[in-house]
Symmetry: C2
Amino acid sequence: MKARVHVMLKAGVLDPQGEAVRHALGALGFDQVGGVRQGKVIDLEVDASSEEAARASVTEMCEKLLANTVIEKYDIEISAA
Amino acid sequence: MKARVHVMLKAGVLDPQGEAVRHALGALGFDQVGGVRQGKVIDLEVDASSEEAARASVTEMCEKLLANTVIEKYDIEISAA
């Protein structure tokens, strides 16, 4: 199974990386850009018997390692390999 | 319009971040994980008259700033705000 995890800062948490991108885009003349948020995407190959099993183990990985759940939220997409 | 951009290292380019995540997951007992690739996700609010216009300007942003196209590939999803 393939899993794609998005880890983004929660709404309300200051995102200096996103702000830096927004400023840089503005300096390049892209004035049509409003808010920018930057996060991480992690693609994993997971050996699991079912989509539910894969989702359960990836959720545990997120809680234990991939996301800092105090300030970050994550979402998980599972697809057959 | 909302745009979501994924920037990933091209296949064949060594991904030390992904490797570090894979090792850390293994050390936590997640032996079912094969390859791991880590990239960036950038969410933008773009002021554009149509989906095509938004996609064109975000493509230009990727080429000029968001991705290093020598080693990274990007893909763009546009959705109505």
